[in-house]
C-alpha cells in the first residue's frame, strides 16, 4: 500500500499573531498553484538572449484567450515575487514576450505585463559588431496613407513606436537606419528618429526604451539586404595566420573619413595595436612614414604628436585635390598602410 505524504509541511504557528500567520503561509498558495497544470513552463531571458543567464520558471499565464486582436498580443505572467525584471524576455509558446510593465506584487505573488515581440531588429554598432533585439511594434501613424509629396516627387511614409529592453547595446540604435521588413530581400528601411529612455524606466526594476522609427529610403550603395543590415561596413578584424603569425597587427583610425581637406584643419590619425599572442606591445617601437609624390611634398605637412598619433595638414592647391598620400605605421617587423585622400572641402 502506497502512503502519501506532504512535501512541504506547513510551518507551525504558535505565536497567534495575524502577520506571523500571513508570512508563514503566503508563498504556499502561489507555490501550490505553480505546481499544478494551471501553470506553464516559461524561460526568462536577459535582453541579449544569452542561455547562460536564462532561467526556467513556472508561471501562471493570464489573458491567453483574449477577446480582441490587440489584447491577443498581451499576456500577464504570475509567479513568485522576485522572478521578473522589466526589459527581460519571456519565452512562451515559441515566441518572445517583452516585459514592459513594472513588476508588481501583492506580497503573495508577482505579476508582470508583457507584449508580443513581432520582429527582431538588427543593426551594426560603430565598432562593427552586430546587435539583435526582439522588439514590440505598434503603428505611430495608423491612418497615414503611406506617401507624402508635392508637385516634384512623392516619398513613402510610415512610423512605428518600438519598445525594446533598456540596456547599453539597445541605446546605440538611436539615429541608425534599420530594416523592418519580413521579406527575404528586405527593402523597407526605417530611421530611428526619437529615443525616449525615461518614459518606461523603473529605477529598481529594469526598464524599456521607447523609439520612434520613421520610414526612410533604401540605399543600394550602403544597405545590405542579405545580412539584414543598413549602412553596413566591413568590420575590422585583425589578420592572424597560423603559418606566419604576425607579432603585431596595426589598425590606423581617424575621426570621420580617411581624408584630409586641402587648406583645411589638420587631421589626427591614430595607430592601434593588437598583439596576436596576447603579449603587451611596446609602443615606443612604432614609427610613422608619410609618402606622397615629389610634386605634392611641398603641400603636405605632418607632426607626430604622440607615439601613436600623427597630425597631417595639407595646403590648398587645385593640383593636389583628388590625389592621395600613403600613411604607414610600423611596429617591430609589422606595418600597416592606408591611403589618405586629399579633398577640396566638400
Amino acid at each position: 500500500m502506497k502512503s502519501w505524504y506532504l512535501i512541504n509541511p506547513p510551518s507551525t504557528n504558535s505565536g497567534g499573531f495575524e502577520d506571523e500567520s500571513f508570512n508563514d503561509y503566503r508563498y504556499d498558495a502561489i507555490s501550490d498553484i505553480l505546481g499544478t497544470e494551471l501553470a506553464s513552463d516559461i524561460v526568462i531571458y536577459k535582453s541579449d538572449l544569452s542561455e547562460d543567464t536564462s532561467v526556467n520558471v513556472r508561471a501562471v499565464v493570464q489573458n491567453n484567450t483574449a477577446a480582441t486582436y490587440l489584447n491577443a498580443m498581451q499576456r500577464e505572467f504570475i509567479s513568485t515575487p522576485g522572478t521578473f525584471t522589466s526589459g527581460d524576455y519571456v519565452y512562451f509558446e515559441g515566441e518572445y514576450w517583452l516585459i514592459v510593465g513594472r513588476p508588481g506584487t501583492n506580497k503573495v505573488y508577482e505579476k508582470v505585463v508583457t507584449l508580443l515581440c513581432q520582429y527582431k531588429l538588427k543593426w551594426q554598432k560603430d565598432d562593427g559588431s552586430v546587435v539583435e533585439r526582439w522588439a514590440n511594434f505598434t503603428s505611430a501613424s495608423k491612418y497615414d496613407k503611406g506617401e507624402a509629396g508635392n508637385y516634384v516627387l512623392y516619398l513613402t511614409t510610415n512610423n512605428y513606436t518600438i519598445l525594446m529592453p533598456q540596456d547599453k547595446d539597445s541605446e546605440t540604435i538611436d539615429g541608425r537606419r534599420v530594416f523592418v521588413d519580413l521579406s527575404d530581400e528586405p527593402r523597407k528601411v526605417f530611421r530611428i528618429t526619437r529615443d525616449d529612455d525615461v518614459l518606461l524606466n523603473y529605477p529598481q526594476h529594469g526598464g524599456i526604451f521607447t523609439f520612434i522609427a520613421s520610414k526612410d529610403e533604401f540605399d543600394p550603395h550602403k544597405d545590405n539586404p542579405e545580412l539584414g543590415l543598413c549602412d553596413y561596413f566591413e568590420p575590422f578584424v585583425p589578420e592572424i595566420t597560423e603559418d606566419d603569425p604576425p607579432v603585431v597587427t596595426i589598425d590606423i583610425t581617424c575621426k570621420g573619413e580617411k581624408m584630409v581637406v586641402a587648406g583645411g584643419n589638420p587631421k589626427t590619425f591614430t595607430a592601434n595595436f593588437y598583439s596576436s599572442d596576447g603579449q603587451d606591445v611596446d609602443e615606443r617601437s612604432m614609427t610613422w612614414t608619410v609618402t606622397c609624390t615629389p610634386e605634392n611634398e611641398q603641400y603636405v605637412h605632418y607632426e607626430v604628436i604622440d607615439i601613436q598619433k600623427i597630425r597631417i595638414q595639407v595646403d590648398y592647391d587645385t593640383s593636389i585635390i583628388g590625389t592621395s598620400i600613403m600613411l604607414t605605421a610600423k611596429c617591430y617587423n609589422d606595418s600597416e598602410s592606408i591611403y589618405v585622400e586629399i579633398g577640396g572641402g566638400i
Partner: protein, 163 residues
C-alpha cells in the same frame, strides 16, 4: 525646329544630349554620377532616373538621383511676332544620402550633375535660332530629403513654319 511640335522635338534632343551626347565623356560622366551601373546601358535610365517631364511619377523608396525636365513656350517674342521664346527647365534631384561624392570630385553630387548639364546645354547651338542662353540655376530642397538644382535655358524659335 518650327512647326508646332517643337516641344516634342526639344525633349527628344535633350534626352539625346544627356544620355548620348556627341561628347561621349560628358554623357558617361552624367550617367556615372546618376547610377554607375547604367554606364553602357544609358537608355535604362529613361523613365527610371531621367524623366521627360517635371514630376517623378512613382513613389520614391530608394536613394537615387533624378533628372526631370520641361520645355515651355511662355510667350511670343516681345521683340518680333515671328519668333517665340522657348524655355528649357532641367531639374537635378539627389537624395540627401547620395549627395556626398568621392573626395576627388570635390563637389556634391547635385552640383556636379548640374555642372555637367550646364556644359551640355549652355551655348548649345542645336536649339532655336541662336545658342541656348543660361538663364538661372537655383538650389532648393524637396520634402526635406532631396536636394534639387533647377537650371533654366532660353532660346527663341520661329513662331510658324516658313512659307
Amino acid at each position: 525646329m518650327a512647326g508646332g511640335n517643337e516641344i516634342i522635338q526639344y525633349k527628344n534632343r535633350i534626352i539625346k544630349d544627356i544620355l548620348h551626347n556627341s561628347d561621349s565623356t560628358l554623357s558617361t560622366d552624367i550617367v556615372t554620377a546618376i547610377d554607375p551601373e547604367a554606364v553602357g546601358e544609358e537608355d535604362s535610365l529613361l523613365y527610371e532616373n531621367v524623366f521627360p517631364y517635371l514630376r517623378i511619377p512613382d513613389t520614391v523608396d530608394e536613394v537615387k538621383a533624378f533628372i526631370t525636365m520641361s520645355v515651355d513656350m511662355p510667350r511670343v517674342s516681345t521683340k518680333n511676332y515671328f519668333f517665340k521664346d522657348m524655355v528649357i527647365t532641367i531639374n537635378v534631384l539627389v537624395h540627401q544620402d547620395y549627395m556626398k561624392m568621392p573626395p576627388r570630385y570635390s563637389a556634391t553630387r547635385c552640383d556636379y550633375i548640374a555642372s555637367l548639364i550646364n556644359k551640355v546645354f549652355n551655348k548649345n547651338p542645336n536649339y532655336g535660332n541662336r545658342p541656348l542662353e543660361y538663364v538661372s540655376d537655383v538650389e532648393s530642397i524637396v520634402l526635406n530629403k532631396f536636394f534639387m538644382r533647377s537650371l533654366r535655358f532660353r532660346c527663341d524659335e520661329m513662331n510658324s513654319t516658313r512659307c
